[in-house]
């Protein structure tokens, strides 16, 4: 029997699904062929590891953790609705409002400052042509 024929029959051979004659032939080949023997034994060892199942020990804190999680879920549920929905909806609106107010405010401020600026200008102009500024008050009183 050729190695290739053995390969194609290795799984049915492993699962004991072959006719007795074929089974005997493959058995004989595997015993004498190193390559086929290696493949068969690896299949056998690896597949049979399924039976060696790891068993986990229970976690003593599991119930506590579940309880805490359920309490958190309950707390979230009990919070007023606006916490979840309104804040999300109102936040952008509130932000735009603040933005608009600040824009309006800055426009208002700039117009006030331009009025103030013109006032100052008149004052300085007046003062500029007033020669009283050049003389001291005491002198002015004495002259007359």
């Amino acid at each position: 029997m050729k190695c290739k024929t053995v390969h194609t029959n290795l799984i049915p051979y492993f699962n004991n699904e072959l006719q007795l004659a074929q089974k005997k032939e493959i058995k004989k080949h595997i015993e004498n062929c190193e390559a086929c023997n290696y493949k068969y034994s690896q299949l056998e060892i690896t597949f049979n590891l399924i039976a060696k199942k790891e068993v986990l020990e229970p976690d003593p804190f599991l119930y506590m953790r579940i309880n805490r999680h359920l309490a958190n879920l309950q707390n979230e549920k009990n919070q007023p609705v606006y916490n979840a929905f309104y804040i999300r909806a109102l936040q952008p609106a509130l932000f735009s409002l603040v933005l608009l107010v600040s824009i309006w405010g800055s426009l208002k401020l700039s117009s006030i400052s331009s009025v103030k600026g013109s006032l100052l200008k008149t004052q300085t102009t007046e003062f500029y042509f007033n020669d009283l500024g050049h003389e001291k008050m005491e002198v002015l009183l004495l002259k007359d």
């Binding site: 290696y38 493949k39 299949l43 690896t46 790891e54 986990l56 976690d59 599991l62 879920l73």
Partner: protein, 191 residues
């Protein structure tokens, strides 16, 4: 306390009864999850999710059904969802990566080390190959095969958990077994 009493108690929001249920079925849930996830921490996290779901949806439980069947079903679904959600995070390496040689790395490292650690590495590689081969199965094959081979559930129990006929379960397990064996063999053919 019978399962029926446990369910009644939880329906009446009785905390103590819920604790009894968790204690009674923790091992079943934890080990079922671990059969799919092969990781203690992940399995503990999913177990927690399973019991939270049990507590929150106990009113959906049909009283004529078996509690263990329902717990197996939730455990399987939560575990499969966990694998799906974490595939993109590479927590569950694909079988392709394994065959590309990632699994051989440890073997090469241990070549210079002690013989026992080399044996351990070979054993670890075999277990990894087995898990990857099962993970590569289609969803239904994976569930039926894992519940049968790892959890020792009968065909009848599996048919109840999966809501399938006995013959479907039988077919799924048979095809799964062949597919797993093929994957294992193809790995060693390349070596």
């Amino acid at each position: 306390m019978t399962d029926k009493e446990l369910i009644e108690g939880i329906l009446n929001k009785n905390q103590a009864t819920f604790k009894i249920l968790v204690d009674k079925y923790q091992s079943l849930v934890l080990n079922t999850c671990n059969s799919f996830l092969h990781n203690k921490t992940f399995s503990e996290d999913v177990t927690q999710e399973v019991f939270i779901e049990v507590f929150l949806s106990i009113h959906k439980f049909k009283k004529e059904a078996k509690l263990s069947t329902w717990l197996y079903r939730i455990s399987v679904n939560k575990s499969l969802n966990f694998i799906r959600d974490n595939k993109k995070n590479n927590l569950f390496k694909s079988i392709e990566n394994f065959f590309l040689g990632e699994g051989n790395q440890e073997l090469q490292i241990s070549d210079n080390e002690h013989e026992t650690s080399e044996n351990e590495a070979i054993q670890k590689e075999r277990i990894e190959l087995l898990h990857q081969s099962i993970n590569a199965l289609s969803k239904n094959q994976k569930v039926a095969f894992t519940l049968h081979k790892m959890e020792d559930l009968s065909y009848k129990q599996i048919s109840e958990v999966m809501n399938l006929s006995l013959s479907s379960v039988e077919g799924l397990i048979h095809r799964a077994k062949i597919n797993v064996q093929r994957e294992i063999l193809s790995f060693y053919k390349k070596k």
